[in-house]
Subunit: 376 residues, 5 copies
Amino acid sequence: MARKKSYHYRKRHKPGTAPGTLTPVQNAPAPIIHVISYGPDQFSEAKLDGAGKIRDYIGKAPVTWVNVDVLDRVQDIQAIGEAFGLHSLALEDTVNVHQRPKMEDYESNIYTVCRMANDNNGEIDLEQISIFMGKGFVVSFQEAPGDCWTPLRDRLRKGGNKRLMTSGSDYLLYALLDAVIDDYFPLLEKLGDRLDALEVRVLECPDKAAMIEIQKIKKALHTIRHAIWPMRESVGQIMNHESLVDQGTLVFLRDCQDHVVQVLDIVESYRERISGLMDIYLSSMSNRLNEVMRFLAVISTIFMPLTFIVGVYGMNFDTSVSHYNMPELEYPYGYPVIMALMLGIAIAMVVFFYRAGWFGNPGHDDDQRKGEQEER
Amino acid sequence: MARKKSYHYRKRHKPGTAPGTLTPVQNAPAPIIHVISYGPDQFSEAKLDGAGKIRDYIGKAPVTWVNVDVLDRVQDIQAIGEAFGLHSLALEDTVNVHQRPKMEDYESNIYTVCRMANDNNGEIDLEQISIFMGKGFVVSFQEAPGDCWTPLRDRLRKGGNKRLMTSGSDYLLYALLDAVIDDYFPLLEKLGDRLDALEVRVLECPDKAAMIEIQKIKKALHTIRHAIWPMRESVGQIMNHESLVDQGTLVFLRDCQDHVVQVLDIVESYRERISGLMDIYLSSMSNRLNEVMRFLAVISTIFMPLTFIVGVYGMNFDTSVSHYNMPELEYPYGYPVIMALMLGIAIAMVVFFYRAGWFGNPGHDDDQRKGEQEER
Amino acid sequence: MARKKSYHYRKRHKPGTAPGTLTPVQNAPAPIIHVISYGPDQFSEAKLDGAGKIRDYIGKAPVTWVNVDVLDRVQDIQAIGEAFGLHSLALEDTVNVHQRPKMEDYESNIYTVCRMANDNNGEIDLEQISIFMGKGFVVSFQEAPGDCWTPLRDRLRKGGNKRLMTSGSDYLLYALLDAVIDDYFPLLEKLGDRLDALEVRVLECPDKAAMIEIQKIKKALHTIRHAIWPMRESVGQIMNHESLVDQGTLVFLRDCQDHVVQVLDIVESYRERISGLMDIYLSSMSNRLNEVMRFLAVISTIFMPLTFIVGVYGMNFDTSVSHYNMPELEYPYGYPVIMALMLGIAIAMVVFFYRAGWFGNPGHDDDQRKGEQEER
Amino acid sequence: MARKKSYHYRKRHKPGTAPGTLTPVQNAPAPIIHVISYGPDQFSEAKLDGAGKIRDYIGKAPVTWVNVDVLDRVQDIQAIGEAFGLHSLALEDTVNVHQRPKMEDYESNIYTVCRMANDNNGEIDLEQISIFMGKGFVVSFQEAPGDCWTPLRDRLRKGGNKRLMTSGSDYLLYALLDAVIDDYFPLLEKLGDRLDALEVRVLECPDKAAMIEIQKIKKALHTIRHAIWPMRESVGQIMNHESLVDQGTLVFLRDCQDHVVQVLDIVESYRERISGLMDIYLSSMSNRLNEVMRFLAVISTIFMPLTFIVGVYGMNFDTSVSHYNMPELEYPYGYPVIMALMLGIAIAMVVFFYRAGWFGNPGHDDDQRKGEQEER
Amino acid sequence: MARKKSYHYRKRHKPGTAPGTLTPVQNAPAPIIHVISYGPDQFSEAKLDGAGKIRDYIGKAPVTWVNVDVLDRVQDIQAIGEAFGLHSLALEDTVNVHQRPKMEDYESNIYTVCRMANDNNGEIDLEQISIFMGKGFVVSFQEAPGDCWTPLRDRLRKGGNKRLMTSGSDYLLYALLDAVIDDYFPLLEKLGDRLDALEVRVLECPDKAAMIEIQKIKKALHTIRHAIWPMRESVGQIMNHESLVDQGTLVFLRDCQDHVVQVLDIVESYRERISGLMDIYLSSMSNRLNEVMRFLAVISTIFMPLTFIVGVYGMNFDTSVSHYNMPELEYPYGYPVIMALMLGIAIAMVVFFYRAGWFGNPGHDDDQRKGEQEER
């Protein structure tokens, strides 16, 4: 849970500083800059250590895609921003990685924020991806190396996907967003598996660990929903940007938006299942309490009268004073008769409780539960 | 629950593959293609094994309806798509059968996804139906053979329904959608019967099986709502498509939309009933716990004092030392007096608890419950 | 609960039959047709056995009101429909009495569905009323004889209500709808009385019957809301119909819509009260459990130590071996001292529990509850 | 609770009577009519017993304000209505005092309904205020004498408020509405005080009376919300009425609407607090049950083994037969050793439970609770 | 909680007083007036004791910022208002500090209300900030001295921030609002830390103090949401004000609005966490009750039969009458056999309960809980 906090407040600057300020950081690790330039019949790739020579790569091919990992050395980010004419407020949002997904229109370019999902041992880790798209270029910023765009890079390298190679930067933006969104599906699949397992567990053994697992999945779903919900709108805003987005790309962006809605749909149906699980959990706990109490009541009801009876015959009334005083003690068959009487009482009670459907003793219930499982 | 997962992820392609890709599958079962061509005064029917000769059947009659079952051999689906000029993104959605109901406008044709409901032993099974409608043709794709369109086919064969025979492909699209939607009513009727049975059961015996049944019905309702809700909008979008949908078909599509709203209405009222059932369930459980505890308290309150009294007269104080020491033991009527006293205490307590309205012993409660049932 | 089902599925035709189909039914009871023709200075009334002569009554007076009870003989309904030029889809909806309230515009006439409420021993019975209104005529269809329009008919017969006699069919439509809506108020008044009674009951004795009554009222409110909610929109749609609805009738229809909102308002405030009742119910149950458990704990805490003490002096240690072995048994005042000690312990505990505010014994609680009642 | 019903149904006429009907009532108390006429440099005031001479006061000053208390003698209300040209449907709504706040536009005048709040021993009493505003006149109807407009009348009499004296009837309407709305704030203040008191009480002693108080406050908030919510819209509608409302009055009406939103805001935050109180209440009850049960478990766990031990040495095995039979009974220190053993067991258990944090005995808990109170 | 009340009602004037009235208050503390005048190449600063000389500072520089602390001496507030031409209704709202955040357009100037947050020992304290912005001036009113604008003042003094110095009063308004909103982030960070701590606590020890902390955080979140939610709209309204707000400031105001949405976003995700905490809390309590009851049931089930057995052999049947009467008492190994039997019964039961998974004794549970903690 510690990282939740870091997610929201990482590097947030102090209240009161001037807007659009990027304070240079010394000794910070250099960004990893990866430049891909391509066109219908060309492809070149380069890795840069700093932002110094970035201007050499601009405009050399129909589309230039600059990807930047590690955002700590702020002065390099600023240099890249200046090379492509990016707005300082947008660069500030790029570096302060606590933005919600959004699309902002800066006339000469589009600024989009989305979140790439990583499964971090069952918790969802969200990395802020900032993408600038302008005429002929796409600049993407990631918090750390490693992403879901490797298949896309391979397709660029192989050059087999004709539409990708011949389209402009708007299609590349679509391809990047689509890869990010499609990456949520395997995550949801894993959550679905955990839900399936949880459903069996909550019915069989509603303990605290099950409750914690319910809450974890709920939190994961909330995180995903939070990251995806605003993308419905931001993809729509990209579609409405007439000057930078080509007519032919619209149908692909619509497909992308459709995937966003699919993710939200699955999240919604999982949330419904979680709320059903909570109901089952609470009623299972209530059931167990009922069973325990019924068990206790049965035991008490059987043994309290018996203990009273043996107590009666443990009284010390003086039988020699009169034969009204506990004459039973001196009957030859007194003891076996009393024992038989008590056995009869016990049996009668067990039969009574059984008929009243009270038998919630744990062994019995286990069998019943197995039966239900099979029936399902 | 296993199939829920398969519903959402069946055949979803790997994140990062190019959009609109249909990878050919070798050794897959061939699709079952069924072509019906009809017009005001003609009707012909054919079954094809593969997509090879599909082009021979196009444009031979005012309306051509091609129905395709089994979508595994992707190359055949693609061939059909090319024959009718269908968009590759739409074909991809047709094959990846995890779409939500929607309507997409591809200028020369309309692409609609809906879901056909099957009752699979109490769980709702949803099959994706993709329908393309263009000038003079309707192409429908189903995951598996068997559907709810047999009465429609019979009407076409008999030719008696004049409006159907003389109208264009838009009316056929309406007829197909209407049949799919109307097929939900019998399903809902079954769910209603299960709800009626559950209502009785929850009052009589609120056990874990009842809880599971509640959750199952809830899930079924959720599934239906999920499948039907987006159709309200997509039917509306079809109605707004001026170039492909005739003025005269509008009143029928409005009727179809009305049926969608009716299904949603029934689902909503069932959900209300389910939530009432949950309330009854939880309060019944609480009631039972109250009864058990009251029963235990009554038993304890009666026997604890009695056991204490018999314990008193089981003490071994030496009566010979002084006559302050338990002189009762040597009274001639000591024993019967004590027994009478204890009987009196027990009777007084029972009367007290009875008057205080505590008697929640199971037998009594059973009678009461029967009375309530009858009153209802 | 049996009729709930019948409400939704009565006479629903099989999925797949052609739309607008009215299959003739032989041996069905004939409809009861009641024709009223009136104008500023005329009034005539007639009862017909079948639809045969219906055409003789059309157009004889400024306004013709045809009311049809019993809809089983479908061929007669169809004949009436043809006489007035009603659309076959609307007639189908008239006969399949499971429509939600709606208004449909068929150019030459308006088709409205609403629901007339009947109190059926505490459950709300809804009868579908279909009304067609065109230039000079109103045709209303009811499932069964008996309605809330008797005062309206009397006003027509007496002719005293000048606006009614001189206005067209649109004012008659308003009058019919207004009577149907106003009929909900007495029903709500009854429900209000039941809520008042329930409020007292839930506080005094939160048993299963109270829970069932809560659920019944909830269901009744849901049924009413369901029947009235769509009327807000449909009355609005009638008001927007310029060619058939006169300017002067608008203010009356607005008043009618206001009544619809009033009904919804009362339903909403009753729902709020019901949800408050559920809270009281659950907390009352919880309270009772607390009381029972405290009572049990008090009894156990008093008698367990006492029983232990008398057990101690029931031990058989041999006092003759040494005077360490239970010398108390041979003290002359041993018995009275021990008895006094136990009495002291019991009193001390009672005082302790009393001060700790634990006394939730049922008699005490009863008094307290009465006090609260009076305070309210 | 009895008046709730009367609020909704007071004087509602029978379903089926003609709309706009005001049946004259004989022997009803006469209305109290109070006429104020004023202008920039004039002011006159009069009290009338009946509606007979009302026409003498119309048009004598720039603004005429007629206030009518007691609405039983319907014929007088009708006479006043005719004098000012008010619509019969609006007069019907004035007399049937179960309207929700609304604004209706009758061309020559505006009809507004609002609700004046009175605190009736902790329950909110709502009186219907109907106000008609036309060129040069305002007519207000109240159910009973006594209102919140005394300060306004005083300002008119003193003539000091220049804007009030020189503005038209639209400003008077604003002043009347503003006084009604501002009157809700003291009521809310009282409810806030009750909430503060309740918060302390629910933590200290979550009994049934606290639950009832929660429900009462909830109902009061619901009543206020119900009465104020529609005013947001109706004040907005007044602002949009161009012909009767002056441009200069708009900024005041906007301020009035702002007050409506403030009332709703406070109600909303109180509702949030109430729902938090319910959570605290339920968890406090659950806490108490936990404490009681832990207490019972501790007592039982301590005394059950001890009672068993003393029972063992109360057995009557014949020690003379063999020295395997209870030789402890004849040990010289048998009794003190057993007593010490039992004391040891008891102490060990107390220590064990204490360490396990089980001590929820009531005295301990009281102290703890006080501590928490202070901490807050 | 006492200040909650004061927040809503501080200084609210009596219902019925004339609108826009500011009653002069004698002996009230004088306001602290701080005037900053600046432009591209000038800066001057002054502190005034009263409103007397305020007019001397107007229009001396491109932008004049007057900040007023302490609003008690109403006549001074009025004098400032007159100097800048502010509307009396807006001044009334400035003094009655119970306004919700809003923006009002008074043609020549904009009136904005927002709320500055202070952390008052864990409770959120909200101070009303009223800001008037006109051509060349900004007037801000605060309830008390001390604010979050010190960094902004420093930037003005140093003159380093070029855009700030060269822009007009609209940019200053943006800078003020941005500082107020950014000040919420550290508050939220603190709440996040408290939530983290609470999450651990609720799992380990769900006591009343945890419940109170949950409610406190909930209230704090509600307060923040309440204060921030309306700002989304009011910042939007400022952006739409074309005559006073410059085109170049829009992108900054959009950024400011983005921050508002971020605050709301975090609040929303915290609320989700709080509701999860409530679920965990309630189920933890329920778990504990289950454990206690199971523990009690185990103890009772073990000792009740044993106590019964030793009771049997404490009966006083006369063994000398016949050898049917308790012959066991005279067997040489009677005592050890019975003791062994009882030990066997006890062990068997413990094994049985262990296998049935009942062991919810507190020590065991503690270990288990620690395990879960580590697993997390």
